[in-house]
């Protein structure tokens, strides 16, 4: 279910490392909790983000959730497709539904994140 090469946060974001860049999205668990996603607010390209700073928001019919940056970095690309069809986030949260691409400023931030196995255990804890 959860790709083994991703890192995960307790707020249900994932980051996939590609060289000195990282692709960020929200997890399948998160999209399921939100229900039908109708709108994603994306940041401007070039924005500098600290760890745990708000990247943007994801909206369903009756909820709004912040998306937090798993690491510090600079936004190099955003998934424009989401502004047209936000429901990609429901359909393919770990692939087509990526949200931003970051140039990672400090890889040390990754140490505090979970790997897939730990994240799955974390989820079991939540559901209990």
């Amino acid at each position: 279910m959860y790709p083994s090469d991703f890192y995960y946060t307790k707020e249900h974001e994932w980051i996939k490392i590609e060289g000195d860049e990282g692709l960020v999205g929200i997890t399948d668990f998160a999209q399921h909790q939100l229900g039908d996603i109708i709108f994603v607010e994306l940041p401007e390209i070039g924005r500098e983000l600290d760890v745990h700073q708000t990247i943007g928001t994801v909206e369903s019919v009756k909820s709004v959730s912040d998306i937090y940056s798993p690491v510090a970095g600079k936004v190099t690309a955003v998934n424009e497709a989401l502004s047209q069809t936000a429901d990609i986030l429901n359909k393919d949260p770990h692939g087509q539904g990526w949200i931003v691409r970051l140039k990672i400023k400090d890889r040390k931030g990754l140490d505090g994140l979970m790997k897939a196995g730990d994240y799955e255990k974390f989820l079991e804890g939540l559901e209990a």
């Binding site: 109708i38 709108f39 909206e59 369903s60 019919v61 009756k62």
Partner: protein, 448 residues
């Protein structure tokens, strides 16, 4: 007490079911030391007849309804078709809550949807909300919206905007680090284009002007909008006399990006200033920054058309401190009245009413400026209000007119010290030729 529906026996049974001896036991969670140990010092209780007499006496203490009045200035005395009171007083419209349960609120929701459509048609813009409190807070909300859309901190506000609207804008932006700069008016009563050009730069979020403005003068909305757009600022047009939209070109068609204001003219009594009906319309690309409730069309599980409140994620109950506005309520019952009003008048009726206002104001302007010493203050084109200047202080003119049972207009010197000896006069379709002539004669005598 009136309006309680429990019998003594009901109460006894209910207390027994709960397992307590008296209603006092229900308040055990409130610390004894703060509880009120006495009766409230209030009058009453009054029986219905007593209450009716009491309120009729209070109403009789208002001498105003016995005067012939030419007051306007953001609140207008217009015809209210009989069907407006008749239909809007139905319990099914008066006594429901906000339509959060669409299956049992289709009446209110469809009315809101029709209201939004009518506002769009009148303003010439793409979308509108379900209404706002009233015109002044609408203007303030528009200023905040222009800031959110542009991220710019300064807004230009025409001095010819209703002075109370300007004050409310000031109150709202004070704690948010925004700045409002006033744009003066020129000799014809319209926004001073040269001054505006001097103030307009790339830090300006929008230009807020009123048309017809507070002096009753129709602004050049097209030129103002073009000026704003030249600096990527928004053109915000406030309409305080909504009836003008029955005759004048729609602000949206002249370049306005946001149109807001007051629709009291559409079927709401003067009622000493409230409740009134704020409205807001904008271009569709700004939908996510539009404050207030919005109804939208959708379908039910069987494919039938229905309406729901939608785009709720903009609102305070979901977005909490990040909401576009803290507005919770709209003015649904007032919007209903406006909807019934507009649908009763229809296209020809609205035009006719607006045209009669303009015609009667034009006639009044002729009659009153024919009185020796009375001068028209601004040459700009009027709709149903205009400013007159007198050879002596307005307070004296006003006092003299009142001895003849007339409230001749609204003195301007308080809000506009630069407009000495001046008053704003409003003439609606409810004024007969005789009324206007009577004002003319009274003015002549007052100035003799």
């Amino acid at each position: 007490m009136r309006y309680l529906s429990l019998s003594d026996n009901d109460r006894k049974e209910m207390l027994a079911a709960i397992g307590i001896g008296s209603t006092d036991d229900l308040f055990g969670c409130i610390p004894q030391e703060v509880r009120l140990a006495r009766d409230l010092a209030l009058p009453g209780p009054m029986a219905e007849l007593g209450l009716v007499r009491e309120m009729e006496e209070a109403a009789a203490r208002n001498a105003y309804p016995r005067f012939l009045s030419f007051l306007g200035g953001g609140a207008y005395d217009h015809l209210i078709p009989t069907v407006v009171d008749y239909l809007s007083s139905r319990g099914e419209f008066v006594s429901p809550y906000t339509p959060y349960q669409p299956e049992v609120s289709q009446g209110t929701l469809q009315v809101i949807y029709e209201f939004q459509t009518l506002v769009c048609q009148l303003t010439g813009l793409d979308i509108a909300n379900a209404s706002l409190y009233e015109g002044a807070t609408g203007a303030a909300e528009a200023v905040l919206m222009a800031h959110r859309l542009t991220n710019r901190l300064k807004v230009l506000v025409a001095r010819s905007l209703h002075p109370q609207y300007r004050e409310v804008i000031r109150t709202y932006i004070r704690n948010l680090g925004l700045q409002a700069v006033e744009v003066p008016f020129s000799r014809d009563g319209r926004v001073d284009a040269a001054a505006l050009a001097g103030l307009l730069d790339d830090t300006v979020s929008g230009i807020v002007c009123q048309s017809p403005n507070f002096f009753g003068v129709v602004e050049d909305v097209k030129a103002l909008s073009e000026a704003a757009h030249g600096r990527k600022a928004l053109s915000v047009v406030v309409v305080a006399e909504a009836l003008s939209m029955g005759l004048l070109e729609a602000p949206g068609a002249l370049g306005a990006d946001i149109v807001t204001g007051e629709m009291q003219s559409f079927g709401l009594p003067l009622s000493f200033g409230g409740p009134y009906l704020g409205f807001m319309a904008c271009r569709k690309e700004y939908v996510r920054q539009l404050p207030g409730r919005v109804a939208g069309q959708t379908t039910d599980v069987e494919g039938r058309r229905g309406f729901v409140l939608t785009l709720a994620t903009r609102e305070q109950h979901i977005r909490r401190e990040k909401a576009t506005s803290n507005i919770c309520t709209n003015q649904a019952l007032c919007a209903l009245r406006a909807t019934i009003f507009l649908e009763s008048l229809g296209r020809p009726g609205l035009r006719e009413m607006a045209w009669q206002n303009a015609q009667k104001a034009a006639y009044a302007l002729d009659v009153l400026t024919a009185v020796p010493g009375v001068r028209r203050r601004f040459a700009g084109p009027p709709f149903n209000e205009f400013v007159l200047e007198f050879p002596k202080p307005w307070a004296e003119v006003d006092a003299a007119l009142r001895t003849k049972g007339i409230v001749g207009g609204l003195g301007l010197e308080g809000a506009f010290p630069e407009l000495r000896n001046s008053a704003l006069v409003c003439v609606t379709e409810l004024k007969r030729k005789d009324d206007i002539d009577r004002l003319g004669r009274a003015l002549q005598e007052a100035l003799r």
